[in-house]
Structure formats: structure tokens, C-alpha cells
């Protein structure tokens, strides 16, 4: 796997945790320091730092090198592509399952028991 693929896969792992999702949601409102991020949680600074490292590793957040308090910054395009994929994928499976449900009902309707037929007749004259 390339480094980029590694990072993108890690994004899903990062977003699977509720604390990290809350951190991402907070950063969506603007940059914040570790202390600011820790405030709403009943968590130690090292605990929060651990979560930030996971988010940093997958590229979802970056931290300024120079500023004294090293505020965390949310990388919108990384979040964006993750959401794009999730939304599209969920929609496809949801619609597919809706249609499968209709199909199964149709097959099991007593008056139209297609399920007993071996296969649908094709329009060929072989």
C-alpha cells in the first residue's frame, strides 16, 4: 500500500471513534488548542493527545509547528473525500436492498410464484 492509501484507510478508523468524531466536529467550527479540545471531555491531556495523534496520522488534522500553543486545524478535503465515499456507498446499498426487498416480495406472492420457475424465459429462438 502506498502512504496515501494507508492514510485514507486510517481516516475511517479514526472516524469510527466517538471522541475523535467529537473532536473533528469541534474543529469544524475553527482551530483549537489541545487544552480547548480537552475541555468538554472528562479526559486527561495525554488521553486527548493520543486521539489527536490518530487524527494527525491520517491527515484529518494538522498542527502548526511554530505557534506556541500549536493549534489543531481540520483538513477539510480529507474529511470531504471520506464523506463522499461513505455517502455514495451507503446510498447504493440502501437502494439495492430496497429493490431486493421488492423483488423478494414479488417472488413470494402466491399468485405469481416466479421462485418455482427455473429461470426467466429468454426471447431467443434457439
Amino acid at each position: 500500500m502506498t502512504m496515501l492509501e494507508d492514510r485514507l484507510g486510517a481516516t475511517f478508523i479514526a472516524l469510527a471513534d466517538p471522541t475523535r468524531r467529537a473532536i473533528v466536529a469541534r474543529l469544524a467550527a475553527g482551530d483549537a488548542t489541545v487544552n480547548e479540545l480537552a475541555a468538554p471531555f472528562d479526559m486527561t491531556l495525554p488521553g486527548i493527545s493520543k486521539h489527536l495523534k490518530v487524527l494527525e496520522r491520517c491527515g484529518l488534522i494538522t498542527r502548526t509547528r511554530h505557534a506556541q500553543f500549536r493549534p489543531c486545524h481540520l483538513e477539510a478535503d480529507v474529511l470531504d473525500s471520506a464523506i463522499d465515499w461513505m455517502q455514495q456507498n451507503r446510498r447504493i446499498w440502501s437502494e439495492r436492498f430496497d429493490k431486493l426487498d421488492s423483488r423478494l416480495r414479488e417472488l413470494q406472492r402466491p399468485t405469481n410464484d416466479v421462485s418455482q420457475k427455473p429461470a426467466r424465459q429468454r426471447k431467443s429462438h434457439e
Binding site: E5, F12, R96, R120
Partner: protein, 148 residues
Amino acid sequence: MSEAASDTGDFIYTRVFDAPRELVFRCMTEPEHLTHFWGPNGTTTPLDGITVEVRPGGVFETVMVNDADGSSYTMRAVFVEVVEPERLVWTDSTSGVTTTSTFTDLGAAGTEITIRQSNVPEAFRTPQARAGFATSLDRFAVYLGTRP
């Protein structure tokens, strides 16, 4: 449909169908059935564009045609594991995403299908129109809201 992302970053979708497991499994593996439901809304999956070789190493191919403009998208995958009527595993040749479908017999309650997708990174690189930041945040909120 319930969904979740596991701690390994896999995607999981679950749905219960009011039908016996054998029939549900057949629907997921026979072109005559797949043509009725495989493509998402706004697309058609013609019977002659579906290839399903239900065995490890067999081809799983579907052509989804956009109803609006006739453009098509071909899904190419290879079966990794086939345990009739319990389990289907295929890997998408383009994206590398592995999809595991588990069919659970719930007796009178029907059949539960669980779709687990792993190794998603490659698919995720598909260039999508980069929505504005505000939009992505809205969608993130929606995404959070749908979690259990």
C-alpha cells in the same frame, strides 16, 4: 438499514428480508434476479451485462446503465469465497474493496444480510467533485446522526 463502521474502519450494513435464506442467496447470485435490483435508483442493470460465476476465482460482473444519459459503469469483481447459502466474498478488481455478504437464517423472521466492506482506501481515492467545506460539514452532521 442499520450501519456501522467497525474499529478497523470496515463498513457494515445490515438488513432483514422477509424471505427464506436460500431464496435471498439465489437473488444475490443469479442474473435473472440481480437484473431487478442490483443498480441503484436511476440505473438499469441489463441481464446480458451480468456475469456471475459463483465459485472462488469466478467472475462477478455487472454493467449499470444510467437511465438519464445512457452512460454505463461496469463493476468487475472476483469471488474469493463462496459458501452457499451462507457467505459470499468478492473483491472489486478496480478499487480493491473486499465485500463480504453474510446470510443469516432468522427462522420465521426471515433472513438477515450483513455486508461488510474492508480495504476501502483505494475506492475512496475516486475523484469526487470537492464539495464546499460547509457542505461537507452538513453531510458530516447527517453521517453522525445516522449512527446508533
